[in-house]
């Protein structure tokens, strides 16, 4: 009984989703609402996924690998740069205009440049994914590191703690909720960056969407969108799982009541 109660919400969501699919399928087939040439029915999309399953699997695999590579790079570089910028003012001054530039100029405008620099293929796509997903990690980490309450800093000062101890024993654990929020935003953006990169650099689901567009294969485009959503959800679920494991070990992300 308890199990059923705990599963009630996901069960309700699943039932709602299935009902929507059935309505969409019958609406499209019987009344042509929504118009099937613009929005194919779930059955048409499933048929396309099955028909081109080998292409889809390969494209999904490529996009996933590139997204993971881009995201991992931005995670490592973002954390290092944020910690560096926290410690060294000159690095912060250097990062600020760069971050403004990359936040305001759309990646789709930068992507052609990346092709010139890195050529067609994976390096361009990974670079695009990294550029898009880098700055939320830097911004959130930097903000988090600077939000440490004065009373905690006083406590460390009274024990004559070194700047390194303050950074690694106090500032970063306190900033953890902010950092993890930045990482989650970046994970979503990494998928966007990969697709933008694949539009110009080729390969993966991005190139598949582009080629299906020219052939008016809307069912294939929708198939790609579904797989992209699977990738995004998978990445977020992975991060949520890791986050839960860390929090089980240490209560790092509690709402802290200070003053």
């Amino acid at each position: 009984m308890n199990f059923l109660m705990s599963q009630a919400r996901p069960l309700k969501s699943l039932i709602s989703f299935l009902l929507l699919m059935v309505a969409w399928e019958f609406g499209g087939n019987i009344f042509n609402i929504p118009p099937r040439h613009l929005i194919p029915t779930p059955w048409m999309i499933s048929a396309a996924l099955w028909e081109l399953r080998e292409d889809f699997i390969l494209a999904f695999y490529e996009t996933t690998l590139r997204t993971l590579a881009g995201f991992t790079l931005s995670l490592v570089a973002g954390l290092c740069l944020a910690f560096g910028a926290h410690l060294f003012q000159f690095l912060r001054n250097l990062l600020l205009p760069l971050s403004l530039f990359f936040q305001t100029v759309p990646i789709i405008a930068i992507a052609p440049l990346l092709v010139i620099y890195f050529g067609f293929g994976a390096p361009t796509v990974i670079a695009s994914s990294t550029i898009v997903s880098l700055f939320p990690i830097i911004a959130n980490t930097l903000i988090g590191l600077e939000q440490t309450p004065i009373a905690y800093l006083d406590l460390f000062k009274l024990s004559h703690a070194s700047p390194w101890q303050i950074l690694f024993r106090l500032r970063w654990p306190y900033a953890y909720p902010q950092i993890i929020a930045g990482i989650k935003i970046s994970a979503g953006l990494a998928v966007i960056g990969t697709i933008a990169g694949e539009f110009v650099g080729g390969g993966g689901l991005g190139a598949m969407i582009d080629s299906a567009r020219t052939q008016q294969r809307i069912d294939v485009v929708f198939g790609c969108l579904i797989l992209l959503s699977v990738l995004g959800i998978g990445l977020l679920s992975l991060l949520n799982g890791i986050n839960k494991m860390i929090l089980k070990w240490r209560p790092l992300a509690l709402p802290l009541k200070i003053f």
Binding site: A151, S159, S162, I258
Partner: protein, 244 residues
């Protein structure tokens, strides 16, 4: 002995502390009483070296080893109770070159937790503790460094009456055992009267001392002390100058 001579402190254009002079003999339990914004917290922060002053001098006859109990317990939520208590020694271990062994720190933390009757909660995290327990952990953390100066910044303000009384009695006990100098900042006449053997009543402005009262109380301060004539007399004297 801690001595403050002609200490001045400005905050923006406000003259927060004006020509402040004070001598605190070793082993004294000093209560600083006064309304909000009168400069009490600034004074203890300057004594602790957490805040600078614009002129004057603060001198210590022996190098101060400071234990500080904050208004809220300020425990690090990601550390267990035991780790929170160990923290000052762990930080000191690597920063000051003092070689404490990990096992010594562990043992010392357990002893301090035992002092505040929290040995059984050593492996809990702070959010699992009541307000009173958190303050006791904070006290154990302040005492692990074997301070010769314990600063208590309104440590009872967030506690209910039962826990407040228990913690006050515990602090009095520990003060008698360790003989450290203590400075208590409080708004409450009752707290100051119960714990301190000298009370400074600070005025509204510039941290001016309105009264400097010393009490020779020989009685051990337990719950019965609160009903004694001596305690009530101290309260009456305090009320004359500073209504609660």
């Amino acid at each position: 002995m801690i001595e403050l001579s002609s200490v001045n402190k400005y905050y923006v254009s406000k003259h927060l502390i004006k020509d402040f002079n004070l001598k605190i003999p070793e082993g004294q339990f000093l209560g600083l009483l006064g309304p909000s914004g009168c400069g009490k917290t600034t004074l203890i922060r300057m004594i602790a070296g957490l805040e600078t002053y614009d002129s004057g001098n603060i001198t210590y006859s022996t190098p101060p080893e400071i234990g500080y109990v904050f208004q809220d317990a300020q425990l690090l939520p990601w550390l267990s109770v035991l780790e929170n208590v160990q923290l000052p020694l762990i930080l000191k271990r690597s920063s000051s070159g003092v070689k404490f062994k990990k096992s010594e720190i562990y043992q010392e933390a357990l002893e301090q937790l035992d002092q505040v009757n929290l040995s059984s909660s050593a492996n809990l995290f702070p959010q699992m503790l009541s307000g009173g327990m958190k303050m006791r952990v904070s006290l154990a953390r302040a005492l692990i460094q074997k301070p010769n100066l314990l600063i208590l910044d309104e440590p009872f303000s967030a506690l209910d009456e039962i826990h407040r009384f228990q913690l006050q009695e515990k602090i009095h006990q520990l003060w008698q055992i360790y003989k450290f100098t203590a400075i208590l900042v409080t708004h409450s006449n009752y707290e100051a009267a119960f714990l301190a053997d000298r009370i400074l009543q600070i005025g509204d402005q510039h941290g001016k001392i309105r009264r400097d009262l010393s009490f020779l109380v020989n009685e051990k301060r337990t719950s019965t002390y609160r009903e004694s004539q001596e305690f009530l007399n101290i309260l009456r004297i305090l009320r004359e100058e500073l209504p609660s």
